[in-house]
Every structure is written in structure tokens, then in C-alpha cells.
């Protein structure tokens, strides 16, 4: 029962994040990268529930971004990257360690590195779209946006998780 509720919470939040990222954040003229809302949501869920849930949420969030229109890239790239992000961030801050700074720093690093990973994997797999000249700018802006979103979302999702799935925190 607890697992079902936890998965439901994660799924709803990830769907919401994916839809908002594509229909609200991407059309807005942010300089550089689009604020990585799904990545930050995965990070916040990983901080709240640990590395296992983090990895699963990363996989689900990545698949969502890979299939949600107007996605046109290779299926599985986003899932691969966000799975690793969810696992790594879940390990970085185990539920006993709740300092916000660690979470924000880790999320910012993940935001920047995920841009790099998309470019490198795209280059290895022969994606003709990769613009190497843009990568440094996207790296920095993605990290900044991820940090800003994390300041907002990590405490919020933490509280939401405690409210809706209290069993997960009784240990």
C-alpha cells in the first residue's frame, strides 16, 4: 500500500513536471537552456525517498521526456541519464542528511552534467543535431536554472512526501 502510494505520488509529480516543462518553460524565451523541471523533480524525489526510488523516478521521468511530443531524439537517452542522476543524488543525500545546500549543489551539478551527457551521447551515436558551440552556455544556464528550481522544489516535495507517504519516514 505504501509502495503504491509512493509510486502514484512520483508518477503524478513527474507527469506534471514533464507537461509544464514542455508547454510552459520551453516556449518562454529563457536565455540558454530550458529550466530542467523534470530533472529537479527527480532530484527532489531522490532526496526524499532515497536512491532506489530515485533511480526508478529518473527512469520514468526520462522516458516521459523521450516520448512526450514534440520529442524527436533517440528513445532511452533521457531515461539513461536521469536514472543515473536519480540514483546518484539519492546516494549523495541519504534521508538522515537534509541540508538544503547539498541538495541544491547536487541538483545544479546534475543539471549541467546532463546537458554534457546528452551532447556526448549524441556525438557518440551520430546525432547530427548536436551543436558543440552551444554546450558551454547550455551547461552553465542549465546548472543555474536547476539550482534555482531546487531551492523551491526540494523542500516543497520533501514536505509533500512526508504528508502523503509518512510511513517512508518512520524508520
Amino acid at each position: 500500500m505504501m509502495v503504491v502510494r509512493r509510486l502514484l505520488l512520483c508518477l503524478v509529480l513527474l507527469l506534471l513536471a514533464a507537461v509544464l516543462e514542455l508547454t510552459l518553460l520551453a516556449p518562454l524565451p529563457f536565455p540558454g537552456a530550458t529550466p530542467p523541471l523534470v530533472l529537479v523533480t527527480v532530484a527532489a524525489l531522490a532526496f526524499a525517498f532515497g536512491p532506489t526510488t530515485g533511480a526508478v523516478c529518473g527512469f520514468v521521468g526520462g522516458i516521459l521526456l523521450d516520448v512526450a511530443p514534440p520529442a524527436a531524439g533517440t528513445l532511452g537517452i533521457g531515461a539513461l541519464i536521469l536514472t543515473v542522476v536519480g540514483y546518484a543524488l539519492g546516494r549523495l543525500a541519504d534521508p538522515s542528511d537534509r541540508r538544503l545546500l547539498v541538495g541544491v549543489g547536487g541538483t545544479a551539478a546534475a543539471g549541467g552534467l546532463s546537458v554534457l551527457a546528452v551532447a556526448v551521447l549524441g556525438g557518440l551515436l551520430g546525432n547530427p543535431r548536436t551543436q558543440w558551440g552551444d554546450v558551454p552556455g547550455l551547461f552553465v544556464t542549465a546548472a543555474v536554472y536547476a539550482a534555482l528550481l531546487a531551492v523551491l522544489l526540494v523542500p516543497l516535495i520533501q514536505r509533500l512526501a512526508r504528508r502523503l507517504v509518512p510511513e517512508a519516514f518512520s524508520r
Partner: protein
């Protein structure tokens, strides 16, 4: 310790599944299991995007117009000046237009280059860090939209549809690095291929004729594909910004500035069908009739653009 071990197993499985998906997708993304996952996922997310797009669409448009408020004042002044000038030209044009319409009717070309389009609103955009220039629009197979249809805006060619769900369609923009369009320099016979560069302000055009004479500012229009899929003919794409390469190379290339600003797309149209061109018939001989001024008056004034056939028949019946 046990917790950590399950975690690692879960991680390993998910990573392996992801890599498997990548490999299967690279082998052939148009069919097979990944195509199924794609369409199933799109079918789930698309309705949510439509709802969200309906909520945020007006907000985004408003933000866009607020942002360009300063530009608008100057724009209005420019337009007023232009309007006055155009008004004075209008009388001349009206006369020319009547003549052109008559000529068109004569050639049996009336209605050529008319497109039947379905209007659509852009509801979602691909994230910048994905490097793909794609958008989602709020019409789908329910509205008659299919993959490989031209998408246009008031300014010119936007792109083509690459996939559809019942309620949405994904558009590959002309500036995407994987997009290429057969194109022609308007007014000349020079043809070439316009491909996206991944940058929103420049397209590349490869001209097939190495000795082609191209001037900066020349207009590039789509050449048109077979059966008008994916690109309908005669859609303006952009203007030549600069030439590249020297004459004598196997091909010449030009940088083309697209008419459409893909970062500010709002309402677009999907070309469902290009109007059929009327069959060209041999021109009828004009029949000089001296009684034209007395008997044929009514029909001539009532229907100026009528073909010669129409105005000629009453004459003949009236002669005896």
C-alpha cells in the same frame, strides 16, 4: 547492506533497459517496439499538453506582446507611412489586378496555388538542451492531419509534420539540423536544397548549378514534392543572406535567412491539400464581332472576368 544491494540491482536493470531502448531505437525508429512505446506515451501525454497549452497559451502570447510593446510604437508609425503609400498605389493595382484576373481565367489557372489549411496553435516546444527544433501543435489525425504535411505561417514555411496523435501533431521546423527542403530561387530556374543548420536565424542552401547567379536578397521558395508531400510548392522560405564558396566548385551554397521566426511561433496552418490546377485547354480563337457593343453589353459588364467562351456565346445567338 541489503538495501544497498537491491538498489544496485534496480539501477543495473534500469540502465540496461535504457541502453536496450537506445539500441533498438537506433536500428529503426519508425517501426518495432520503440515506435509502439513512443505512440503509447504520446497518446497519454498529448491530452495533458493540450489542456496545459490551452491554459498557458494566452499567457505566453500576452507576455510576448508585452515584451515587444516598445517595438510596436515604431512599427505602427512605419505601418501608417506604408499604408499611405500603398493607398496611392492601390488605384493602379486595382486596374492591374483586373487585368491579371482576366488573364488567369484565360489561361485556366484560376485558383492556382491556393492551399487548403487547418489552423493550429503551438502548445509545446522541445527543450533547448535536446538540440531538436520541434514543436507540438493542437491539431491531429482527428482534424485530418497526417505525417509529412507542410506547416506554414503568415510569413512562410514553418516545417513539416513528422508524427501525429489523434489530437496533436509534432512539427519538425525548417531550422532543425535534420530538415531539408527542395527549393527554388523565385523567378529563376535555379534549384537547390535548403537544410537546417540547427540555428534559428540561418538556413543553408546548396545550389545544384555551380554557375548559378545568385544575388543577396533573392527570395527562396519551396520547390514542391511529389503529390505535395511533404512540401507544397511555392511556399516562401526566406531570402539569401550571403553566398559561400567560389564559383566553379561542384555546388555553391548560400546562407538563407528564414522568413519565419521559429522562437515566436503562435498560430500556424497545416496544408491539407493544394488546390487542383485546372487542366490547361487550348486558347479559343477570339471572335471579332461588330455587334458586340449593342448586344453583348449586359454580359460583358456583369461578369468581367468571364472567359471568352462565355461572352462569345450570346453574341452568336444574337446575330441572326
Amino acid at each position: 547492506m541489503r538495501e544497498s544491494r537491491t538498489t544496485r540491482i534496480v539501477l543495473a536493470i534500469l540502465v540496461l533497459v535504457s541502453i536496450t531502448l537506445v539500441i533498438i531505437d537506433l536500428r529503426g525508429s519508425s517501426s518495432g517496439p520503440t515506435a509502439f512505446i513512443r505512440s503509447a506515451g504520446a497518446a497519454v501525454v498529448a491530452p495533458l499538453e493540450r489542456v496545459s497549452g490551452a491554459i498557458f497559451g494566452p499567457v505566453l502570447s500576452l507576455g510576448d506582446s508585452l515584451g515587444s510593446l516598445g517595438e510596436k510604437d515604431a512599427q505602427i508609425a512605419d505601418l501608417e507611412a506604408e499604408n499611405a503609400r500603398l493607398k496611392s498605389e492601390l488605384d493602379v493595382v486595382a486596374n492591374d489586378k483586373a487585368r491579371v484576373a482576366e488573364l488567369d481565367a484565360l489561361m485556366g489557372l484560376a485558383g492556382n496555388n491556393g492551399y487548403e489549411t487547418v489552423p493550429a496553435q503551438v502548445i509545446a516546444v522541445g527543450p533547448a538542451q535536446g538540440f531538436a527544433w520541434t514543436v507540438t501543435i493542437d491539431v491531429g489525425s482527428r482534424d485530418g492531419v497526417e505525417p509529412s504535411m507542410s506547416v506554414i505561417s503568415g510569413a512562410g514555411l514553418v516545417g513539416r509534420t513528422i508524427s501525429v496523435t489523434p489530437t496533436t501533431a509534432t512539427v519538425l521546423l525548417v531550422v532543425d539540423a535534420t530538415s531539408s527542403v527542395g527549393a527554388r530561387l523565385a523567378g529563376t530556374s535555379q534549384i537547390g536544397i535548403v537544410s537546417g543548420s540547427g540555428r534559428q536565424d540561418a538556413l543553408q542552401m546548396q545550389l545544384l548549378d555551380p554557375l548559378a547567379v545568385v544575388d543577396v536578397g533573392d527570395v527562396v521558395v519551396s520547390f514542391g514534392s511529389e503529390a505535395d508531400r511533404p512540401y507544397a510548392p511555392g511556399i516562401p522560405i526566406g531570402t539569401v543572406l550571403q553566398m559561400r564558396g567560389t564559383e566553379g566548385q561542384l555546388t555553391r551554397s548560400a546562407i538563407v535567412e528564414p522568413y519565419v521566426d521559429v522562437s515566436r511561433l503562435d498560430i500556424v496552418g497545416v496544408v491539407l491539400r493544394v488546390d487542383e490546377r485546372a487542366p490547361r485547354e487550348p486558347l479559343p480563337m477570339p471572335t471579332p464581332s461588330p455587334t458586340n457593343s449593342t448586344t453583348g453589353d449586359d454580359t460583358a459588364t456583369a461578369d468581367d472576368s468571364a472567359t471568352i467562351d462565355d461572352s462569345a456565346t450570346p453574341d452568336e445567338t444574337a446575330v441572326p
